[in-house]
């Protein structure tokens, strides 16, 4: 909650007008969605599968260091593609319009320990609906970090740089735990809840399968390359985890991104919802390769405005969205990856220490804190 509301200069009408303009951008893409887009996702999926297959093949000979390097690099990229440009976006329903049951949010499963079904709930539903609303959007600090001045400081927060680093290394497990709302559900009574147990079981099954594949079956198939293949898969998972964690941190944590109070979203209009997405997200600038490897989450702002538009369209949409930011005098938070990662980490460190309350006061002497749209 920033002391100064960066949207205060907008009138209610302007906000609704902004919403209509964004709707128009969305409609344009939807009307134009077609063969080229379908060909794109099919090409990416096929490339990912071939790359994974080839890399696993090379790793059969990973006792030879060059094979290890090549295979590990290939597998890391393949896993990143699977999670980012394909999995995340398919699970958002971005490709449901194709009506291909094989590339559909209801059937897709990804290379990740969190089952697609559970992730869809916590991510698509909770995070995307309540973006950056403290207490509602658990993505804010994943329930283990303090990410805003106004959250109460606790000595446990001193360790948050370490938690965050560990979370980055084992990100997929962090996400699985987070999808299960482990923190909340480990209390004695909740633990017995049959629904929670069923979900925990599903995660267990998924973890077993993933671990068996990566750390038992493929190493075994490699025979004499058992250990090196094991190390390669571990490395690939680590690389993928750190990469996705970094990209995702850049989406909502860098300085300049707003968070919102629970009561600020009561009775939110479409325009206000859009505005919250605009102010609550941040982009990464860079080359086309960078956008691809982030699964186009480098266009986080556009993704949050239009989570179900095909990811390959975010780049062109970004030009129009940015123009709206300018028109309405709003800050479009973006920057190159290293700068954004640094900014996010900086915040993690800064907020691990107690901070002072915001100092802007209202005339009657209360701290003015809330970004409110009503």
């Amino acid at each position: 909650m920033t002391a100064i509301d960066p949207t205060a200069h907008l009138t209610a009408q302007q906000i609704e007008e902004l919403g209509r303009e964004l709707d128009a951008i969305r409609d344009e893409v939807i009307a134009d969605r077609g063969e080229k887009d379908a060909a794109y996702i099919r090409k990416v999926i096929s490339a990912q599968r071939k790359l994974e297959l080839a890399s696993r093949g090379v790793l059969l000979f990973s006792v030879f260091p060059p094979a290890w390097l090549l295979g590990t690099a290939g597998l890391s990229v393949a896993k990143i593609m699977d999670n980012m440009e394909i999995g995340h976006n398919v699970l958002h329903g971005q490709w449901d319009w194709m009506r291909d049951p094989k590339i559909h949010s209801t059937t897709w499963e990804w290379d990740h320990v969190s089952p697609a079904e559970q992730w869809k709930h916590s991510h698509n539903e909770l995070h995307h609906t309540y973006t950056n609303v403290i207490g509602k959007d658990n993505d804010l600090g994943y329930g283990i970090m303090r990410v805003d001045e106004d959250q109460k400081w606790h000595p446990a927060h001193l360790g948050q740089p370490l938690w965050n680093f560990l979370n980055a290394c084992f990100f997929e497990y962090g996400i699985a735990a987070y999808d299960l709302e482990l923190g909340k559900n480990l209390h004695k009574r909740r633990r017995k809840d049959p629904e929670f147990r069923a979900r925990a079981k599903a995660v267990g099954r998924k973890i077993r399968k993933q671990v068996l594949k990566d750390y038992v079956i493929h190493p075994l198939l490699s025979g004499p390359s058992f250990l090196t293949t094991l190390a390669a898969t571990f490395t690939a998972n680590l690389v993928r985890n750190i990469w996705s964690h970094s990209v995702i941190m850049c989406g909502h944590f860098p300085e300049g991104v707003q968070v919102f109070e629970r009561r600020s979203i009561k009775g939110e209009t479409r325009g206000q919802w859009y505005l919250r997405q605009m102010m609550g997200s941040a982009n990464i600038s860079g080359s086309r390769a960078m956008h691809f490897m982030t699964g186009n989450l480098s266009h986080q702002i556009e993704h949050h405005l239009f989570p179900d538009l095909p990811s390959n369209r975010y780049a062109e949409v970004a030009v129009k969205v940015r123009a709206l930011f300018e028109k309405y005098e709003l800050e479009y938070v973006t920057g190159p990856l290293p700068a954004q990662v640094f900014s996010a980490w900086h915040k993690v460190f800064r907020l691990s220490l107690p901070t002072k309350k915001p100092e802007v006061m209202t005339p009657d002497g209360h701290a003015m804190v809330v970004v409110q749209h009503d």
Binding site: D23, E35, D37, A38, W97, M98, S105, L212, K213
Partner: protein, 355 residues
């Protein structure tokens, strides 16, 4: 261990290797038509027949079970990136040596799939297939006298029969606007020249529509013939009435083109009777209330999430009818495999939601 059990084990192992994908996801990359794959076909050629009709040659996958003359196949074609399913009669004989099948498609105005197949489909394209079905077929024992009564592309299933089985006494009455609109005209005239067929062409652009009451002028012994009729609903309705009147209804078999069961409500905001077929609930819905709310109000357990169209937590099969996207106004019609987001869709006419 039996070989079947061994194979099962090997497959299980392979599944562990490819998890979370399936081995077939990888096999599809190299061999989409293999045995055991989902049934698909590859378009190998497209031959124009008339100005707006073409024959599509398809090599079906190994799982194809073969058809009977007169049957149709449902095919799933990606048009503008979107998979659409339509049924077409198979026009090739059942004993075609190269294992290919053909369908013959007439481009109908605004027909998405038909226009795509006739004008834009290219060899090499994969299409999805179902196994052939339909009971518009000849009986095992050859009937002595046959009448084929067809109009427009209604000729296609009959062509499949003509090419498949040679009968002793066949008359065909075929209606098309002009001579050049008659699909397979050369081949038909060839059969006539070989005395394998008697043919009456009715050119509606010059002769007017076929008046079924005057069928006797063209085929005096029509009532004695086993008849297969295929064409637009008007013709078939008239035929059914006429055959019934003459007490020979059992000699007539008809094949109807896929009826457009539901037409989206026009302009007035739609709405209609909504059936939640899994629970057997039926309610009236207006054209502005999301089906999610309609269902919940009626006590149907509806999956949901964000309730604003972004999480896809509410997608549900639309089994029949049409719905309108409340955000864009886009109409979605029921087809197998079509899922809708109930939180942003309203009834656009009567519809059936699988809940």
């Amino acid at each position: 261990m039996t070989s079947a059990a061994l194979r099962k084990r090997a497959w299980k192992l392979l599944e562990m290797v490819t998890t979370p994908l399936l081995p077939s996801d990888y096999l599809d990359l190299v061999s989409p038509l293999r045995a055991g794959a989902d049934l698909r076909g590859r378009i190998e050629a497209v031959h124009p027949e008339t100005g707006d009709a073409a024959t599509v040659v398809i090599r079906p996958g190994r799982g194809w079970r073969g058809h009977a003359a007169g049957q149709y196949v449902r095919i799933g074609v990606d048009v503008d990136g979107r998979r659409l399913w339509r049924a077409y009669s198979i026009t090739s004989p059942t004993d075609r040596q190269d294992g290919r099948i053909t369908i013959t498609v007439k481009a109908i105005p605004d027909g998405k799939v038909s226009n795509h197949l006739v004008r834009r489909a290219t060899p090499g394209t994969l299409v999805q297939l179902d196994q052939p079905t339909g009971d518009f077929v000849l009986p095992p024992a050859k009937p002595a006298k046959v009448l084929y009564l067809t109009a427009g592309s209604g000729i296609t299933p009959v062509m499949g029969m003509l090419r498949d089985v040679e009968l002793d006494d066949v008359v065909m009455v075929h209606c098309a606007p002009r001579p050049q609109d008659v699909i397979f005209r050369n081949e038909l005239h060839g059969l006539v020249a070989d005395k394998k067929l008697r043919l009456a062409e009715v050119h509606s652009a010059t002769d007017g529509k076929l008046d079924i009451a005057r069928l006797g002028e063209l085929v005096p012994d029509w009532a004695e013939r086993e008849t297969w009729a295929c064409g637009p609903a008007g013709l078939l309705d008239a035929a059914e009435e006429y055959w019934t009147e003459h007490g020979v209804r059992e000699r007539l078999r008809t094949e109807r083109f896929r009826p457009r069961i539901v037409v989206a409500g026009d302009g007035d905001g739609g709405g209609g009777e909504v059936t939640f077929s899994a629970t057997g609930t039926t309610v009236d819905a207006d054209g502005a209330t999301p089906l999610l709310d309609i269902g919940e109000e009626a006590g149907v357990l509806m999956p949901s999430g964000c309730r604003m169209g972004i999480c896809f937590g509410c997608v549900t099969p639309l089994k029949a009818g049409a719905v309108r996207d409340l955000r864009t106004g886009e109409i979605t019609e029921a087809e197998p495999g079509v899922l809708i987001q109930t939180c942003v869709s309203a009834a656009a006419g009567p519809c059936d939601i699988e809940r």
